[in-house]
Structure formats: structure tokens, C-alpha cells
């Protein structure tokens, strides 16, 4: 249908915008263009009932005039609208106030290699193929146990790309694919309703496994039935990736961003070279991770993506930088400028992690569970976004969550809150599994924390 993507055309439009803004008086200019085209099949309340397709593209222009930054975007790409956006960006800069700490837009650097970020087979997937996968996923859930309902979920594939052109000579483009399936389940037995359970599989290349996703989501729902309340106490806790990710995101991930450090909002400000985590913890941010969901050649400002050591054996090694925070810290950008959201052309760069990778441990998941006499295993947390990003204090509901007794998972729990300071939790990590997987920008194994305060409702 609608012209899907034509990178060369986008590059031409970007050059036009940069030239036009310069001609009008801007001192530095950057054009960011992106496009996306996606198809999805949706599961709702136990049936496949909807298909969607969306196509979008656009241009965002940053213009700098006397250290003030202006930005304008449009999703209509004609010579007139592109020139209009260029002038509006320049006018916005003129209306704004100078930022005395502005140095410059980035200059060209050499790009690294990315692997497994584009798969023609994904781009070519038909809606019939997607419907087949959705149908397999749904059947897997439905056949697992009559009490389980696939509340929500589906299959989606997308092709996306971006172009960055700036007045210092950066001119790059990239193309990627992704395909994923997910399902949210609940189980109902009489008046007993479980919390929502969730499983997903997203990849850059062809080959997602709907049977595995469906089986695991259904298993979690069935095992969540007949949850019991518990007494408060301090317990060893195993966090699966889906439970650890949100807590990490709203605390530690902010603390390693250079803009938080520069603005005195990071608990890690004076911790470079010091112990911030248990010595078994090694973390890097890897924008070039093979097949990584956030892997790309360059970031939202055209700076090369790279692998940056963040924590090595518990010691804080580096912060993460975009161009602006790097310029203000006298260092080089680590390629962590992100253009967020589905319509990335409509946003200015924000400092964000790429693929945030915890190194694997050696224990199997069974070994991790077997070591615990009296503890918890948590598959999800609710309310992590209400954590205090500066202090790392958190207070979340664990759900779904199970009790571990004498080395075995015994029963589901309900009304359990976990509280603490996440920076202490990091130092308290006593085990890492060998089951590394990627969820969003987070790549990690299961994580065992030696002791966490749990508030029960008895």
C-alpha cells in the first residue's frame, strides 16, 4: 500500500532541512528522520479478533542559534513542510534562551559493526503467517488448562529505520526488523482469580516460539491459584528478569546516566572506582550486542553505539553519556542518546541505556531454588515507577510471587510488599543464574538477593 520506506529519499529530505536552516541563519543543524511500518494480530479475551497495520514517518530538526536549541517536527515529508520545519526549529531557538553550557552537536566518528538486526524474512512475513503464530499461541494457552484465559496479547512484526544528518558532516542510516509475541493470562477457579501473568518473546530475526510463550504464561496462571497471605519477615528472594527489570530501571539505571550525575541526582555521583554492587555483579551497556533488541549502528544523534563497562566485579566503572552530557563532562558520548517512542522523529534526544547487560552466573534455576530454605521467588512487581530515583527507596507489590520452602517452590502468595533501598539490594546479590535472556533493554539471568524485607498482610 503506502510507500513503505525509501532511505535515499529520507536522506535527501534531511539534507534539504539542514541546508535550509543554515541558509536562514542557524549555526548548527541536525535532521533526524525515522520511519516504521508494522503489522500486528491481537488476541483479546480468548480469541483472535483484530489485525492492525500502521505506517508512519517523519522528520525532526534541531537548530542551534547562539547556544539556544530549537526543535520542530513534521510527519508530512514534502519540500515545503521540510523547509517549514527547518525554519520553525531555527525560530524556536531564537525565541529560547541560550544554554551557556552548550558546546556543539556531535562530529563524525567511526561506526562499529552490528549483527543480526535486520532479517528480510521478518520484513516479508505476511499477515496470514502472523495469524498462524497468534493461533498457535492462543491454542497453547487454551489447551494447557481450562481455567486459564488469554486476556490479551498477540503477534507483531515491524520494520523501522532512521537517518541522521548534521551540519558537521554526520550522514548515516540504519534499517532494522523485530518480531515478537506475548500473552497475558489469568486463571479463574470458582471465585478464585489470579493476578495477570505475562510472557513474551521478541527478536530481531525470524524464529519466535509461541508454544514456549503460551505454555509458560499458562503455567504461571495455574500456579498462581489459591494464593495465601503471609507474615512479614526478611527473606532471601529470587527475582526473575521481569521482576528485576522495573526496579533496576527506576533506580540504578538512572544513577548511571551522566545527566543525573551532573545534576546531583545520582547516588553514584562520587562512586566511580568504588564498590556499588556485590562482587559477582558485572554489567555493561552494549549498543552493539549481537541481535540485541536495542542494537543499532548509531544513536539518536548519529554517534556510534558501543559497548561500555558500567560495573565490573561490583566496582562502578563508567557512567553513560549522550553528546550534551559528554561535552559537559569533558568526555566522549557513549552513544546513549535515544529518540523515544513510536514516533521517534517527534522527540529530541534523551539519555537512555541501549542493551543493559548483566553477565551470566553459573547456577541453574533449580540450584538457585534448592539453596533456599525459606524464601520467595518473584515474577513481577507492581509500582516500581513510584520508587525514589535518587535515594533508591522502593516499596512494591510482588505479583505473581511464590513461597520457597526447603528448596522447593510450594505455593502462591498474595498481598506481599517488598521494601528497601535498591542500592543496598545491589550489594546484597548472592547468586546469578545461567539463564540469561533479554526483556526490553534489559539482558540478565535470574538474580538472587540474600535478604529483603517483605511486608505481609497477616
Amino acid at each position: 500500500m503506502v510507500a513503505e520506506h525509501n532511505t535515499l529519499e529520507l536522506i535527501e529530505m534531511g539534507k534539504k532541512a539542514v541546508d535550509f536552516a543554515l541558509k536562514n541563519g542557524a549555526q548548527e543543524v541536525e535532521a533526524f528522520l525515522s520511519f516504521s511500518s508494522g503489522t500486528s494480530i491481537n488476541i483479546e479475551r480468548g480469541q483472535i479478533v483484530k489485525s492492525e497495520k500502521s505506517v508512519d514517518q517523519g522528520l525532526g530538526v534541531r537548530a542551534i542559534y547562539q547556544k539556544a536549541v530549537g526543535f520542530s517536527y513534521t510527519n508530512i515529508l514534502s519540500t515545503k513542510t521540510v523547509e517549514d520545519a527547518a525554519v520553525r526549529a531555527y525560530k524556536a531557538a531564537k525565541a529560547s534562551k541560550p544554554d551557556p553550557t552548550w558546546v556543539s552537536l556531535p562530529y563524525p566518528r567511526k561506526y562499529g559493526e552490528t549483527k543480526d538486526t535486520y532479517d528480510k524474512k521478518v520484513e516479508d512475513m505476511t499477515s496470514d503467517q502472523l495469524v498462524d503464530i497468534a493461533s498457535t499461541l492462543l491454542d497453547t494457552v487454551t489447551c494447557y488448562d481450562k481455567r486459564v484465559l488469554a486476556v490479551d496479547g498477540g503477534v507483531a512484526k515491524s520494520v523501522f529505520g532512521s537517518v541522521v544528518i548534521n551540519s558537521h558532516g554526520i550522514e548515516v542510516s540504519d534499517l532494522g526488523t523485530a518480531v515478537g509475541c506475548s500473552v497475558e493470562t489469568i486463571a479463574r477457579d470458582g471465585t478464585n482469580v489470579t493476578p495477570a501473568c505475562f510472557e513474551m518473546d521478541t527478536r530481531r530475526n525470524f524464529g519466535i516460539d509461541p508454544v514456549k510463550v503460551g505454555t509458560e504464561a499458562a503455567r504461571q496462571a495455574v500456579c498462581s491459584l489459591n494464593a495465601q497471605k503471609m507474615w512479614s519477615g526478611v527473606f532471601p528472594v529470587i527475582f526473575t528478569q521481569s521482576a528485576f527489570r522495573p526496579l533496576l530501571y527506576y533506580t540504578v539505571i538512572n544513577a548511571v546516566k551522566a545527566d543525573f550525575v551532573l545534576r546531583d541526582r545520582s547516588a553514584f555521583k562520587y562512586k566511580l572506582g568504588k564498590n556499588v554492587a556485590s562482587e559477582i555483579v558485572t554489567v555493561c551497556d552494549d549498543g552493539l550486542l549481537e541481535g540485541g533488541l536495542l542494537t543499532r549502528k548509531f544513536d539518536g544523534e548519529g554517534v556510534p553505539c558501543q559497548k561500555t563497562a558500567v560495573i565490573e566485579n561490583g566496582v562502578l566503572k563508567n557512567f553513560l553519556y549522550d553528546n550534551y552530557s559528554a561535552n559537559n563532562s569533558g568526555t566522549k558520548s557513549t552513544g546513549n542518546a535515544s529518540r523515544s517512542g513510536g514516533e521517534s522523529y517527534a522527540s529530541t534526544p534523551v539519555l537512555e541505556v541501549n542493551n543493559f547487560v548483566f553477565s551470566s552466573g553459573t547456577q541453574t534455576t533449580d540450584q538457585m531454588i534448592n539453596q533456599i530454605q525459606n524464601g520467595l521467588i518473584v515474577y513481577g512487581v507492581q509500582g516500581a515507577h513510584s520508587s525514589n530515583p535518587e535515594s533508591g527507596e522502593f516499596s512494591v507489590v510482588a505479583t505473581p510471587v511464590w513461597k520457597i520452602e526447603n528448596g522447593t517452590v510450594t505455593h502462591a502468595l498474595r498481598d506481599v510488599m517488598l521494601t528497601g533501598v535498591f542500592f543496598d539490594v545491589l550489594k546484597n546479590i548472592s547468586g546469578l543464574g545461567n539463564n540469561v535472556r533479554q526483556l526490553g533493554q534489559f539482558v540478565a539471568p535470574w538474580v538472587k538477593v540474600e535478604s529483603i524485607k517483605a511486608v505481609g498482610a497477616i
Partner: protein, 460 residues
């Protein structure tokens, strides 16, 4: 525009669709961010496009495109029909829509101050004055981020029932976030302002006053102590009541989630709360951040009672869920923009007023907490909710005591609603943004209430 969209609808019907709707939009956005007294970027943008939804054989097809050219709209409706046909082979319970009155209307926004007429310079100046007041309040303030956004433009809606609506969009929004630090103690606080009336919402209090208020709230937390964990009585302020009603009750009463098995599934017509509890979702509050005249299925917005005197009487509906549940449509189907399909969203959701004064609410509490403003909240289909609290105080022998920081409350919605012991006679409505895959602008609120017991999770 109307003709182009009508032709697209007609073409969709000629291809065999039972129902076709086309939403076209032209939107303009202005936004800016200041960080610690510096303007990060002044931004504007324009976008236009269409979202086309068709029903074929009881299945939905949806196509969105960032263009409004007639030939591309025709191609897209054809694609939508194709997608729906492929999916319809798998449909077990075909989708049907509740009947609604067809409408032809033009809704024009009438702001006292149109944000388009306010210069970028003035919007920046407003933010910087607030920033200055915040940093000027106390040297322990370490950072301040202020976001501003306005959205203006027009939405067009045409469907195969004969409804045809042109409706202006107007939103202004700002968020102030401050943090403070004293040795190793960090604290942060935030405030949000939002309106569909116009830029005049910023005239109700000066940027200096607003800044001072946020700064005080931030700095006060530095001397606050963490709460005791456990179950305690609590007096809850309108800001926290709002987010509790929105997260813990509201989402479960969105008919799509109710049908998905939320704990309200089998509770319609039954007593689910203490009999002094009445809850509304109301799209008609003038100028409120969650108000509009027609939703994105062309249904007129209304004031919907969800709980009346403790009995669950209503749900928030789309045309699809209203038909399925044989209940009246309520005008709750909203789409963030043309890129996405309408789904069931809240509007302005609040607890109705009672008759207690604030003093009456706290006087009988021997030891408990006064929960004044929230940081964030979330709920699950089984009714488990969590609300993070940014400003709280101890209540000791009927008096407000020391400040408490980084608390959060949790529990089960139904158990908590039954424990509401008293409802205040005051009322406040707070703007917010709600995420459900898409972002919707909403309000929530109510009066102060007292709850017999709620689980408090501590900080450290």
C-alpha cells in the same frame, strides 16, 4: 475533509465491511523543557493522518497512516478490509456494536487564552520564574525539571452509521519535578497542571507561588522518617484518593478489563463498598483535563455512576463492550491520536462527597498515617493495588505529627473499599496522564476519606 472521509467510508462499505469509521486529524504541539534554570529545547511540531477501522465478519481491521491524501485513504480502507477478513476466519464470538444515536456536529474550542496566541518566549518565561522560585526557596534543592506541553488542532470523525463530527482539540499541561539532597538523604516531589479550557489555567496562581509550594514539599521530606510497615488506619487526601479510585477501582471497571476477568466481573448490581462510597467517571466536567464532548467512536460523553452507595452500578464502555454486556454505551472509547484505535479509557474519575470535616476524620485515629500526595500507582486485575506516596504524616492521638517519606500503600480494592469509614465534604480534582498502551489525559480526585486499615510499606 468531510467529503474525503465520507468517500473513504463509502468505499469501505462497498468492499463488504459491516461497519467503517475514519478518523482524520491535524494536530499542532508546542513543548519545552527546562532543567535547573536552563531551557533544554524549545519545540513545536505538526502532524496529520488518519486511523481507519472496519468490521468484517465480526473481526476488526485497523490501518493508520500519517497522510490524508484521498487515494491513500482508499488504499488503506481496502487493506483494513483485507486484514479483517483474514482474522474473521478465527473469530468465535463475532464483534457487534451497541446502537447509538447518529450525530452531526461541529465542536469549537473557546479558550479565554488560546495557547497558540501565547508566544514561546512567554511560555519559557513562565517556566523559568517557577524554576527560580524553587531554587530560591532552599539551598538544599538540587535539581528542577519543568515540562510544558500544549496540543491544539482538529479531529474529524465519520462512520458508516451516518455520524459526522468535527471537534477541536485543546490541551495544556505542565509538570514540575524538584529534588533535594542533604548529605545522603535524597527527596523529590512533583506537581502537575492540566486543562482543556485554555492557557488561562496558569493564571490561577503565580509561577512563584507554585514553585514555592513544590520546593517546600521537597525540602520537608528531607527531615521525614520512613514509615513503620504494617496495617494501620489512614486518612487519605484527595490527591491520593484520586489515584486510588483511578488505579484500584477505575481500571477494573473499564468494561474490557472487567470482561477480561477483573474482580468486578460478577459484581454488577452487588454491594462492593461501604455504603458511603459513590464513584463517578465523568466526561462533562467543564475544562477538566479528562473532558470532551464526543469520544473517538462518536459517542457523546456523559457522567457515568460506577458505584452508588456502595453498589456497583455501571462500567465504562465502548460500543463493542456495551453490546456484549447489554449495558448502555458511555462514551469512554478514546484514541491517543490517529495512529491508534480507540480503547476504553477513563475521563475524570472521582469519589463523591460526604459530610465529615477534616478534623472529624482524624480525631479518632490513635496512631495512623495521613497520606497527602502520591508518586505513582498501579493495579492488577485481581484487585491488588499499590500507590507510592510522596508526602505523608503520622497521625498521633488525633493530631497530625511528623512527616514520613517514601511510603506506599497496598491492598485489595474490594477489601479497602469496604473499610472506608468516613468521607469528607471537601473536593479536589487533579490532572494526570494514564498509560494503557496509549496515553490519555485524565483527572481523578474526591474528598478526604478515612480507611479503617490499609497496608503501609516502608522505605528503608
Amino acid at each position: 475533509m468531510k467529503n474525503v472521509l465520507t468517500k473513504t467510508v463509502d468505499y469501505g462499505q462497498s468492499l463488504g465491511a459491516q461497519y467503517v469509521e475514519v478518523r482524520g486529524q491535524n494536530l499542532f504541539k508546542t513543548s519545552l523543557t527546562t532543567k535547573d534554570g536552563t531551557v533544554e529545547t524549545a519545540k513545536d511540531g505538526s502532524e496529520s493522518g488518519a486511523g481507519i477501522r472496519v468490521l468484517v465478519g465480526g473481526a476488526w481491521g485497523f490501518v493508520s497512516l500519517g497522510k490524508l491524501e484521498p487515494n491513500l485513504l482508499q488504499e488503506s480502507v481496502k487493506e483494513a478490509v483485507k486484514l479483517a477478513k483474514a482474522t474473521s476466519l478465527y473469530v468465535k464470538a463475532p464483534v457487534k456494536l451497541a446502537e447509538v444515536k447518529t450525530v452531526e456536529d461541529v465542536v469549537v474550542a473557546k479558550p479565554k487564552k488560546d495557547p497558540k496566541d501565547v508566544s514561546m518566549e512567554q511560555k519559557i518565561d513562565n517556566a523559568l520564574r517557577m524554576d527560580k522560585a524553587i531554587f530560591g526557596y532552599d539551598s538544599r534543592i538540587k535539581s528542577c525539571t519543568i515540562n510544558y506541553l500544549d496540543v491544539t488542532g482538529t479531529s474529524y470523525f465519520v462512520n458508516s452509521d451516518g455520524t459526522c463530527i468535527q471537534q477541536d482539540k485543546l490541551y495544556v499541561w505542565s509538570r514540575i519535578l524538584a529534588s533535594a539532597r542533604e548529605s545522603s538523604v535524597f527527596a523529590s516531589a512533583r506537581e502537575e497542571i492540566g486543562s482543556t479550557a485554555g492557557y488561562e489555567v496558569f493564571d490561577s496562581q503565580s509561577p512563584e507561588n507554585l514553585g514555592t509550594m513544590v520546593a517546600k514539599r521537597t525540602v520537608d521530606q528531607l527531615k521525614a522518617k520512613p514509615p513503620k510497615g504494617g496495617a494501620f488506619p489512614a486518612v487519605i487526601g484527595p490527591n491520593v484518593v484520586g489515584v486510588f479510585i483511578h488505579e484500584a477501582m477505575g481500571h477494573l471497571a473499564e468494561a474490557d478489563l472487567t470482561l477480561s476477568g477483573s474482580i468486578l466481573f460478577d459484581k454488577i448490581g452487588k454491594q462492593i463498598a461501604s455504603d458511603i462510597v459513590t464513584v463517578y467517571d465523568d466526561g462533562t466536567v467543564e475544562g477538566a483535563f479528562g473532558s470532551f464532548k464526543y469520544d473517538d467512536e462518536g459517542v457523546c460523553a456523559q457522567k457515568t455512576a460506577l458505584i452508588e452507595n456502595g453498589v456497583l452500578t455501571g462500567l465504562m464502555q465502548s460500543r463493542e463492550t456495551a453490546h456484549k454486556l447489554n449495558m448502555p454505551p458511555t462514551g469512554n472509547a478514546r484514541a491517543e491520536d490517529f495512529r491508534v484505535e480507540p480503547i476504553i479509557r477513563m475521563r475524570n474519575t472521582y469519589l463523591g462527597g460526604g459530610d465529615s470535616s477534616f478534623e472529624e476524620l482524624i480525631e479518632d485515629v490513635d496512631f495512623g498515617y495521613y497520606l497527602k500526595s502520591f508518586r505513582g500507582g498501579q493495579a492488577n486485575l485481581d484487585g491488588t493495588f499499590q500507590v507510592g506516596i510522596q508526602e505523608a504524616y503520622e497521625i498521633i492521638k488525633g493530631e497530625i505529627g511528623d512527616p514520613v517519606r517514601s511510603a506506599s500503600i497496598s491492598g485489595n480494592t474490594l477489601e479497602t473499599l469496604r473499610k472506608v469509614e468516613a468521607v469528607g465534604k471537601d473536593f479536589e480534582l487533579w490532572p494526570g496522564r494514564c498509560g494503557k498502551g496509549q496515553t490519555a489525559f485524565i483527572c481523578d480526585g474526591g474528598p478526604h476519606i478515612r480507611v479503617g486499615e490499609i497496608t503501609i510499606g516502608g522505605g528503608a
